[in-house]
Amino acid sequence: MSIDPHAHTPPIERRSSHESGEVTPPPHASAFSTRAIDPGRIECLQILDEHGNVEQGMDPGFTDEQLLDVHRAMVLSRAFDSRMLTMQRQGEMGTFAPNIGQEACMIGQVWPLTKDDWFAPSYRSFGAQIWRGWSMERLMKLWAGYHEGFVPPPDVNDYPFSIVIGAQVPPAVGTAMAMRRRKEANCVVVNFGDGAFSQGAVAESLNFAAVDNAPVIFVCENNGWAISTPLTKQTRVESLAIRGMGYGVPSIRVDGNDILAMMVATRDAADRARNGEGPTLIEAVTYRMSLHTTADDPTVYRDEALVDPWQDRCPIRRFEAWLKRRGLLDGAACDRIKADCEAQVLAARDAFRESAEAKPREIFDYLYVDTTVTLERQKAEYFKRLDRKGVE
């Protein structure tokens, strides 16, 4: 299966959502396809509908083990999210960006990657980071203000997430350009949001990737909101995926709350990248169910009634419904997995509490490979201050 940029499919209905700021869910695709967006003919890949049904002939044929793995990863991501929120409210965590409701995007986009591939996350990506091998303990340190939380684990080829919106995208493309030059059959997934897509750096990145035929997958996680700014104030285009076509990047719009669609789209894009067919843009349509960050109060700018329909589109619930129908899960198994994940998160929290250690004497240590006389002198001055204050 491949993404055919010349495929013609019937246009979907125009969304009439510009007034409300609401992102409507993508419609059900009439046939299983990952065909690319044709401007004016926006199609959207959905495999698993909101009720957890997969139409006859659309089952992508993943193994039971693959399905249960991604299910568990989604449940774990949500358990982590929920615990982090509690920890933040109890004063144990810094400002933190929840990603509840976006678990299918999270896991689906990194699911086909190997250890030799790279992932460049935005800051609402921790589910994906956990999948990639970042320990939850490390991610807790990151959000709690410990420098070491930003350091990729030794065997993980990932960028640390970017705070500056879209700034992670050009280096991700550069890494893919290096892969092509080094003749490696690997790829890079870079994740960014609908707000980031307004950044010039992201536009430049799509162009560089296209011109260089770089093996990179752009995943635009369109969750409808950039803090208080709805998609309708971010863009006048119907679908962010059509932007890829302007750069000659095959592009697809995917139901981002459908884990099967995300897995298929990312797998196909990764296959293209590894086969030397260059970049792909995936617009994953989802919804920011919760806060921008814990410092945010969406009731100021968003009618919470807008969120309600998305409760029914919960990526975990619909996937579970399907897995139950296939006999892979039952209610008891779901409860057990949820409890396991919560226990895993609590164990990570305990490890975090045990090992988190502020290291004020390290602030000069990682600036340069070859440090400078100027810095060494400032370090000596700083150490005298720490000594005076009795700080280790």
């Binding site: 790279w118 420098h147 070491e148 930003f150 350091v151 990729p152 960028y159 640390p160 970017s162 500056v164 700034a167 995208v169 050009p170 280096p171 991700a172 493309v173 550069g174 890494t175 893919a176 350009m177 290096a178 892969m179 030059r181 080094r182 010039g200 750096a201 430049e204 990145s205 162009n207 560089f208 011109v211 260089d212 240590d365 990682y366 600036l367 340069y368 490979v369 070859d370 400078t372 006389v373 100027t374 810095l375």
Partner: protein, 327 residues
């Protein structure tokens, strides 16, 4: 030994680096067939191929950002920004990634790359083609900033910058590009980054400068000796970050006077930092206030008047004579 211009010497350094280290690649606008708008990369694409000498899309942020990503994945990109006035579009990636990624990942990733760009006035160029904004890079933790002044040190410093594991801004004084020739050895040579050079010894006053201003300083020093019996010591910083002010303060302890000359804006410029450090480290030796002869805090003037705004030898001579009689 060959007599080379700075442009030819830089080309030689890039060619050598491409030959010796397969990780090195060049990227930038018009650097391929065209050889760069100043011809610094002339013929390098035909020798080393389009994947190693890349003509990029016209997007500075993209050039620097992708160069960072290549460096993180084991290459050593040398990215050219056509004029330093256009580096502002790349500021985002310089600040967020080029300067920070090594620190952010506690050394897990290094960003061994060079951003080359021509800077400075004096070539009658249109707006945004004559800026000297080295202070931005000096002020950004994580970067190193190197500024050659002649063909020979340009070649040696560029080789050192490419070999450096840290990200380097390599600021090329374009007024010097073809201004004169110098003997450049056939065998490779490097100059240690962060090391200033005393290019004239003297006992009465210390003149500190770099880049294209080395020439008016040299001219002033010769005139001061010949016409006024004043013996000036002249220092070329060569690297402005990290800044070797030990060489400066050691000199000022002997001369008691310090004058700094550069094209860049005065306020919070390199001269301000040199003056501060001289005051901190050699205050008791000063017999006259530290002076700065610099570009003014105005946008670089349009070229019909630029010759009046750039520091020249007479300004330096006047400042030195004032310092000699100050009490």
């Amino acid at each position: 030994m060959a007599q080379l211009t700075m442009v030819e010497a830089l080309n030689k350094a890039l060619d050598e680096a491409l030959r010796e280290d397969e990780r090195v690649c060049l990227m930038g606008q018009d650097i391929g067939v065209n050889g760069g708008v100043f011809r610094v990369t002339k013929d390098l694409q035909s020798t080393h191929g389009t994947d190693r000498v890349m003509d990029t899309p016209l997007a500075e942020c993209g050039i620097i950002g992708t160069a960072v990503g290549m460096a993180v994945h084991g290459m050593r990109p040398v990215a050219e920004i056509q004029f330093s006035g256009f580096t502002m579009q790349a500021f985002d990636q310089i600040e967020q990634n080029m300067a920070r990624l090594h620190n952010r990942t506690q050394g897990r990733y290094t960003v061994s790359m060079v951003m080359r760009t021509p800077f400075g006035g004096g070539i009658r160029a249109v707006e945004h083609h004559s800026e000297s904004r080295e202070a931005y890079w000096v002020h950004t933790p994580g970067l190193k900033c190197v500024i050659p002044s002649g063909p020979r040190n340009a070649r040696a410093l560029l080789r050192a910058a490419i070999e450096c594991d840290d990200p380097v801004i390599f600021y090329e004084p374009k007024a010097v590009y073809r201004a004169f020739r110098e003997e450049v050895p056939d065998t490779p040579e490097t100059i240690e980054l962060g090391q200033a050079e005393v290019f004239r010894t003297g006992s009465d006053v210390t003149l500190v400068t770099y880049g294209a201003m080395v020439r008016p300083v040299k001219e002033a020093a010769e005139d001061l000796a010949d016409e006024h019996g004043i013996d000036a010591e002249c220092i070329d910083l060569l690297t402005v970050s990290p800044m070797d002010t030990d060489t400066v303060t050691e000199s000022v302890r002997r001369t008691g006077r310090c004058i700094i000359v550069h094209e860049g804006h005065r306020t919070c410029g390199v001269g301000a930092e040199v003056a501060a450090r001289v005051t901190e480290d050699a205050f008791e030796h000063l017999v006259a206030p530290v002076r700065r002869i610099t570009g003014f805090d105005v946008p670089f003037p349009y070229f019909q008047v630029e010759q009046h705004a750039l520091p020249e030898a007479d300004d330096i001579i006047e400042a030195v004579r004032d310092a000699m009689t100050w009490d």
